[in-house]
Every structure is written in C-alpha cells, then in structure tokens.
C-alpha cells in the first residue's frame, strides 16, 4: 500500500519516456494514448488509496528506505489526496482536448507528463528541499509548454515568467537555507516540531516563511506578484492554459497553505485576508477591461485566487473548507472556460471579443458548456460557484470591509462575463475569418461536456461536498454546516446579478469604453515588475513585524 504513493509521481515520468519513442512508431499515436493511460492509472491508484485516507490515516513512503530526519518522505493525507485527484481529473480532460487539436507533436506530451509529475511531487512531498526540486521541475516544464507554439508573444510571455519565477525560486532557496541553519533538518514535520519547541514568535522563522510566501506566491499569483500571469496564460496553447489556470496556481497556493498551517504562522495568515481582498478586486477590474478573450479569463484567474486567499486568511475551519471548496470549483470551471474559448479559437482562428459574434447556433455544445462555466464563475445556483461563494461570504461575517470588496468583485465578474458572452450572442461578424470549420472534433466535445457535468455535480448537494471536504481538508472539525441556500444569500445573488447588468450597460456606453481603454493601457515593464517583487518582499517583512509586535490587531 505504501509503495502506491511514489508510483503516482513515477508513472507519469515513465510514461513520458514512451512519448519520446513515439517518433519511431508512426500512425500509432503512442504519445497520446500513453499519456492518457498514465493519468488513468494514477487515478486508479488514487481510488485504491481512498479507504485508508477516508479513515484519516496518513500513508507515507520513505524514499530509499531512509526514515524521516535523514531521508525524504512522501506523505499522502486527505489534503494531498484530494489535491492530487483534482489535478489528475483536469489533466485528463486537458490531454483529451490536446489530442483532439492534433497540432502537438510527441514532445508536447513528454513535457506535459513531466509537468504533471512535478505537480504531484509538490503535493505529496514532506521535505522542503524536495519541494524546491519538484517546483523547479514543474516550472521548467511550464516554461517550455507556454513557449511551445513558438509564436513571438508566447516566447516573450515565457521569458517574463521565467525571469520573475527564477527570482522567486532564489527567495525560496534562501528560506530553506535560513530554516536549515536554524534547525538542522529539512523535513517539514521535524522543522515544525523543533520550531514549536523553540517558540514561534521568532523573527528568523518569520523571515524564512516570508521567503517561502513570496517565492511560491509568484507561482500562485496573488496581486503584487501577478504580472507574469496574464500573458503566460493567454498565449499558451489552449490545454496548457487550462491546466496552468486550473491546477498549477492552485498547487502552488496549496504548498503555501501547508507550510503556513504546519508552522502555525497565524500572523502571516492574517495578512492574506487583505492581500486576497485587493487581489480579487484589482484582478477583476483589469479583467473587465480586456478585449482578448483568453486574457480576460487569465485576469479572472487572478481575481478568483483572491477569493480563495481571502477565505484562507480568515483561518477558521469553516473558512478553510470554503476556501478549498472554491479552489476545487475554480479548477473545474476555469479549465472548462479555457477549453471552451480554446475551441472557439480553434474553429474560428479569432480571439478578439468584438470580432466574434453569434456563435450560439453554430456551436451549440460549446455554447452550453460556456454557459455552465459562466454561471458557475458568476455564482448562480445550482452551479458549484454559488455554493462556495456563499460559504465564503458566510465565513467573512466578522470582516465587513473585506466582504464589501468581495461583493464588488462578484458584481464586476458578472459584468465581464456578460461582455465575454457577446461572442456567442452578439451580432454575427462581418469580417471574413480564416476559419477551419464550425464543427469541433468529438474528443473536444467529450472533454467540454464531461467538465460541465463535473461543474454541475459539485454544485448540487453542497452539504455533501462540504462534509466531504471537512473530512479531507481539516479533519472533521465542523459541528454544524450553515445552510447555503438561505434567503439572505439568494437576495445577495439577485442584487449582484442586477448590479452587474447595470454595470454592463455602463461599459457599453462611450465614457465606459474610455475608462476601460485607460485601464487596459496600464502595464508594467519587466524591470519594474522585478522591482515590484522585491518591494513586496520588503512590505511583507514590515507587515509581519508590525503584526508580530502587536501594533495592529486583525
């Protein structure tokens, strides 16, 4: 049983080797079949691991037989199990979509599988330096995947991401160094034990943790560290955008989550409450200003990460469950939306919102899947976004100012998706586009429909899902589960939709368009964005010092 844990990391790596020899065996489509097979095998292994995990056990595997303080261990607890399942499901449908596109060679699948293996490693590992190595594995794979199509914009986006992210990894390594100097061990559990014995109000520990938060935070992309994200997610190939937005930023954020909760750094956790509020609000403002359909979705990823981070910052078990629930839902509906827009771009060859229109009749499957994703991200019942957003608002009942920001961002989310849905409902396009055909392949349709069904399934019966997440994420701490479908929440949703529609009418008018153009023109260069990362690091140090000294009470 214990060996299964390492197999989840190793099987994608072994399969990636078979993708390389695909070139010598033509017409078999070995790379595609092997990569989908590898994800299916990993899902089967996860299913085998389900009973002990559900009982609350931790399945551990020591690499090379060396026990924890000396060797490296992989731990599979409920938290890691559910994260691992989430990434496997999204990866499977992204792979099926990539197969249907028929544009990618075997190298694409090779890198894609290494990417999956890296993310599984980050989720499972119990050793801080090993986590660094897995982070680098999946980052290098993601740089290659973003630049894979070889277009100029995607190469530049990959370059920006690479530079900013190497800076972040430098910070991460510095954090590891500080912790190692302090404790002399590298395993996460041992560091946490030693630290709690020594008392955790130490400035050195805080410094190390801030190094981790900034270093990993660059990949998780909350607001001061988000600059690489829109370009990278918008100009990557469509399945890669789906998996980057759906999983990669989540896995990075879950690593921060695990480190902070393990080291009981509640001071830093409270900083996240405000970081999240600004992330949600500013991200969505930029999103509504975009005219590139994939860029709009990419900015929405930032905004939705804000929702997740806010709820994490509250820190009570209910809020943690709400945060994880939204994270899970966002993984599904955002990858669904990216794949929908991807299939529209595949069929029409056009990605500008105003140059597309009236695709509803021509592409009904894509339209209905898009509708599911759109209603989910806006938080309309009975889809999954409603349940998790309602839970987040319930958990924010002691922080009215933050709730106000979150409510504003929900309104603008509705507006921006009304804008994006113009590509299906608006007037038909006069310009001739170099489209292939309006019919999309069956495999593409399969992955869209399957993800829509998942979105609907996680939204129906929210009580069941919250109870399940409570078991896996926080370990059965919730006594009562608040009702999601209360009158208060439903009225708030109705108000949100109404205001969103009113705002949509405003942005259609000429002063609204001028405002949007102004927001769109506001972009940072590479030098400035690196400066911003360093400044963020200093601000985080200052904030944690202020909170630790007790000058400000949250």
């Amino acid at each position: 049983m214990n060996n299964l844990v390492i197999l989840i990391v190793i099987i994608p790596l072994i399969a990636s080797f078979f993708c390389l020899i695909d070139k010598y065996i033509p017409h078999l489509q070995l790379a595609q079949i092997v990569s989908i097979g590898a994800t299916l095998i990993c899902m089967a292994l996860l299913a085998v691991l389900f009973p002990p995990i559900f009982r609350g056990d931790v399945v551990s595997y020591s690499v090379g037989g060396w026990k924890e303080p000396l060797g490296i261990s992989l731990h599979m607890d409920g938290f890691a199990w559910i994260s691992s399942c989430m990434s496997m499901v999204v990866a499977l449908f992204a792979l099926i979509f990539a197969w249907a596109e028929k544009e990618h060679g075997n190298l694409f699948y090779f890198v894609f599988l290494i990417f999956i293996a890296g993310m599984q490693g980050v989720t499972l590992t119990g050793d801080i330096f090993n986590m660094f190595v897995f982070f680098e594995i999946f980052s290098i794979a993601s740089y290659i995947l973003i630049a894979y199509e070889g277009k100029t914009k995607s190469i530049l986006a990959s370059f920006n991401y690479l530079l900013i992210s190497s800076l972040g990894m430098g910070f991460f390594l510095l954090g590891i160094v500080i912790l190692y100097q302090h404790t002399g061990v590298l395993s996460l559990n041992d560091i946490a034990n030693l630290m709690s014995k020594a008392g955790n109000s130490d400035f050195t520990l805080n410094l190390a943790l801030i190094c981790f938060v900034v270093g990993i935070g660059i990949k998780a992309a909350f607001i001061p560290l988000h600059i690489w994200l829109p370009d990278a997610h918008a100009f990557a190939p469509h399945p890669v955008s789906a998996i980057l937005s759906g999983i990669a930023i989540k896995v990075s954020f879950l690593a921060i989550w695990r480190i902070i909760l393990l080291f009981q750094a509640f001071d830093i956790e409270h900083i996240f409450l405000w970081v999240g509020a600004f992330t949600a609000f500013l991200g969505v403002i930029w999103a509504v200003a975009q005219v590139d359909s994939k860029k709009l979705l990419a900015y929405h990823s930032i905004s939705q990460i804000g929702f997740i981070v806010v709820s994490f910052g509250v820190g009570r078990p209910l809020a943690l469950d709400a945060s994880y629930y939204h994270l899970l839902n966002h993984a599904f509906f955002k990858s669904l939306l990216f794949l929908c827009i991807g299939s529209v771009i595949y069929a029409t060859g056009q990605r500008h919102i105003h140059k597309l229109g009236a695709l509803r009749k021509k592409m009904p499957t894509v339209f209905f899947s898009f509708l599911v994703g759109m209603l989910a991200i806006c938080g309309i019942p009975p889809f999954d976004g409603y349940a998790s957003k309602a839970l987040i608002s319930i958990s924010l009942n002691k922080h009215p100012v933050v709730y106000f920001f979150i409510f504003l961002s929900s309104i603008i989310t509705v507006t921006s998706f009304l804008k994006l849905s113009g590509i299906f409902t608006g007037k038909p396009n006069k310009e001739k586009t170099s489209f292939i055909s309006y019919k999309i392949p069956a495999k593409m349709r399969l992955s869209l429909v399957a993800l829509s069904i998942i979105c609907l399934a996680t939204g129906i019966a929210p009580h069941f899902w919250i109870r399940t997440l409570d078991t896996f994420v926080t370990g059965r701490k919730l006594d009562i589960i608040p009702t999601v479908y209360s009158l208060h929440q439903l009225v708030a949703t109705l108000l949100m939709v109404g205001l969103g529609f009113a705002l949509y009418l405003f942005i259609r008018s000429s002063p609204g368009k001028k405002t949007l153009r102004f927001i769109r023109g506001f972009r940072l260069g590479l030098n400035n964005s690196i400066l911003l990362v360093v400044v963020t690091f200093l601000i985080f140090i200052l904030l944690s010092w202020i909170v630790a000294k007790g000058f400000v009470q949250f």
Binding site: V133, E136, K153, L163, S166, G170, I176, V177, V534
Partner: protein, 111 residues
Amino acid sequence: MLFFLSFVVFLVGLYCVMTRKNLLKIVMGIVIMEYAVNFFLVLLGYRMGGVAPIVTKGMENAKFVDPLPQAMVLTAIVISIATLAFLVAICVRIYQKYNTFDITEIRKLKG
C-alpha cells in the same frame, strides 16, 4: 565577513536585474543572484578548520564540514544550469525575431 560578501553579491545581481535593459545582462543578473544564494549555502555548512566528510579509519573523530548543504548546492546548480540554457535559447529566438536585445525596443515592436 564572508556572509556579508554573499549578501553584497546578491544585491549586485538584484541591481543588475532591476536596472539593465539588455536581455542578456538581465539573465546574467539572475545568475549572479543564484550564485550568491549557493555561496551562502556552502558557507553555512563550513566549519572552521573542518575536513571533507569522508569517514575512514582513524578519522572518526575529526571535525567534518556539513555535507548536506553541499549536496543541496549541487542540485541547485544543476537546476539553474537547465534554466539558464532555456533562458539563453529564448533570448536567441527573441533576437532572431526582433534583431535587438533591448527590452524597451521589443515592447515598442510588440505594440
């Protein structure tokens, strides 16, 4: 003293990354920063007057340097070389498209 030096090297790299306009110089800045961190890591493992941690007969009680940071630095160097190779490859591709390494020029051309 040497700790301070590694910090200075780190700042030199950071300054280079933040102010230069040439893509290759930015890449060099990143490399200098990574090396500063590696230097710091090796320095932590060093014991004054220590020997290499190879246990042979008669050497059981000698003063050893800490081997773990060295292993970590080796891993980090390998990773940073892979990243560097990819960075330079991307720089070459950008040069082929735009005929310049200047990021302000590239932004203008990109529009």
